[in-house]
Amino acid sequence: MKGLNKYFGVIYNTIAESSEFRINHIFSFLTIALPLIFMIFLWKKVYTDINVIQNFSLSSIITYYFLVILIQDITYPGVNFEIVEDIKEGRLSIILTKPISYPIYIFSIKIGVSLPYFLISLMILSIFLFIIKENLVLPVDLCMGFIFLLVFFLSFVLGFLLSFILSIFSFWIEEGGGLEKLTDVLIPILSGLILPLSFFPSFIHPFFKILPFKYTLNFPVEVFLGILPFQKILEGIIFQIAWIFISLLVSCLLWKRGLKHYKAIGG
């Protein structure tokens, strides 16, 4: 337990640090959140003469986008530029000489950044609440709320591990940009950022189900909306845990190999 104290220090410092640069975060969050207006208009029009599409009512779909925008900062499994820069610019060397584990250090930073940003995002999004208040869906009971919190925590861990794996590929890829752009195209679709995955034609569903990306955004939000039967939720949690284990293994393996490959440019 004592060994973890230093990481709590990192978390604490990052929270203090990221609370300072609020304006920047507010703008970058608004950049994502403001287009929600277009989404609401569009979906209201789509639902004029239909009540339900693939288990989604108008309220569910609006809450879906609302939540996706709220939690994507936290669980979205994209490339982590902090890691990429640490590796590319050789700053990793400085951290490696310290008696801390880099992956846990980065994880602590992620927690420290996520907490204040989440609160700020929540505050900004509550401006939207008065537009969508009659369309907001909440979990049916306390029990579902707790299940959501569990699923949300798992997706946070999974999202972090996936982005860690994607980012440490930069040990091998010297010319940057390629992988990031590819993931920029694929992950928004596979994770359900663009559209709820159940809207896609059913022949692709098994494919979504096997891949880990669904369990970072689409799955936790669907649990929140309460549109999944209990069996599906259980299944999803099992997939989440399985993927956490797999990505933990893969990231350990890649990390060890990557360090051997590491050249400490500029260091």
């Binding site: 304006i23 920047n24 703008f27 970058s28 608004l30 950049t31 994502i32 403001l34 287009p35 277009f38 208009f41 569009l42 209201k44 029009k45 789509v46 239909i50 599409i53 010319e175 940009g177 390629g178 752009k181 590819l182 920029d184 195209v185 928004p188 679709i189 663009i194 559209l195 809207f199 896609f200 034609p201």
Partner: protein, 262 residues
């Protein structure tokens, strides 16, 4: 005429630079297209469940999306590279280089750099436009195309004016890039059918923030939703008024400029 010639020189010089850095050419095009791809997939799937959204069918919406993407590509290649640099000019004092030249300042600052990558993705949008028009079975004559191109040009110019207006604010505020990114992301949604908005929102998106004017008007004129000359006249008046306003504001704000270096 002199300005056309100058612009041509800028074009050549940027093109030469572009050829040197071939690099990850294909990936750059994908990254310029990915927002477009998302909206195509997005609407393609919504239309699995509905045949019409507010009176627009799939091909009409695809036509609108490709018109919007053409506007984005043109703006991103001819104006955005300059407008994005604006902030740096003022921060590091390199704005001096622009002021001392015997040229129209707004012209020089807005046209110096050209990014060719978005132009390559243009072919993709044009193909989609032709495909969706074919499926709509419209008889389009030369006049339609002329009006369409004219309104398209106005769409690009409106995007330019808004970017220019925001960047002029960097004379007053230090960090304006995030506001620019916000407006840029917002205006990308011009590719949504105008009929999804309720009346007050339509009013807002025509007269205040011209989301509908940018892409809906050219697309609607091409698809003959309405060939009303009101649209054309309004677009012209709007763009002239905004251009005049932004130019006045720019020349007024220059007085605030204090060169950064000695």
């Amino acid at each position: 005429m002199k300005y056309f010639y100058l612009w041509w020189l800028f074009f050549i010089s940027c093109f030469k630079k572009e050829i040197i850095f071939k690099g990850d050419f294909f990936l750059k095009i994908i990254s310029h297209l990915f927002w477009f791809l998302f909206s195509i997939i997005f609407f393609r799937i919504i239309y699995l469940y509905k045949s019409e959204i507010g009176g627009w069918n799939l091909y009409q919406t695809l036509c609108l999306l490709s018109v919007n993407q053409i506007i984005i590509s043109l703006y991103e290649s001819f104006f955005a590279p300059n407008i994005r640099k604006f902030q740096n000019y003022i921060e590091d004092g390199s704005f001096d280089h622009f002021i001392i030249k015997p040229l129209d300042l707004q012209f020089f600052v807005s046209t110096r750099f050209i990014n060719f990558n978005p132009l390559f993705s243009l072919s993709f949008s044009i193909l989609l436009l032709i495909y969706s028009l074919k499926n709509l079975n419209l008889s389009i004559n030369f006049m339609n195309i002329l009006i369409f191109l004219f309104l398209l040009l106005i769409g690009v110019v409106i995007r330019y004016i808004f970017g220019f207006l925001i960047m002029t604010l960097s004379f007053y505020f230090v960090r304006i890039n995030s506001l620019y990114a916000l407006h840029n992301e917002f205006l990308k949604y011009s590719g949504y059918p105008s009929s999804i908005y309720p009346k007050p929102a339509q009013f807002f998106f025509i007269f205040i923030i011209p989301v509908i004017v940018i892409a809906n008007f050219p697309a609607m004129s091409l698809m003959k939703f309405c060939l009303s000359y009101k649209i054309i006249l309004y677009s012209i008046v709007f763009v002239l008024f905004m251009f005049f306003l932004s130019r006045k504001f720019f020349y007024y704000s220059i007085k605030k400029y204090v060169s950064a270096s000695s």
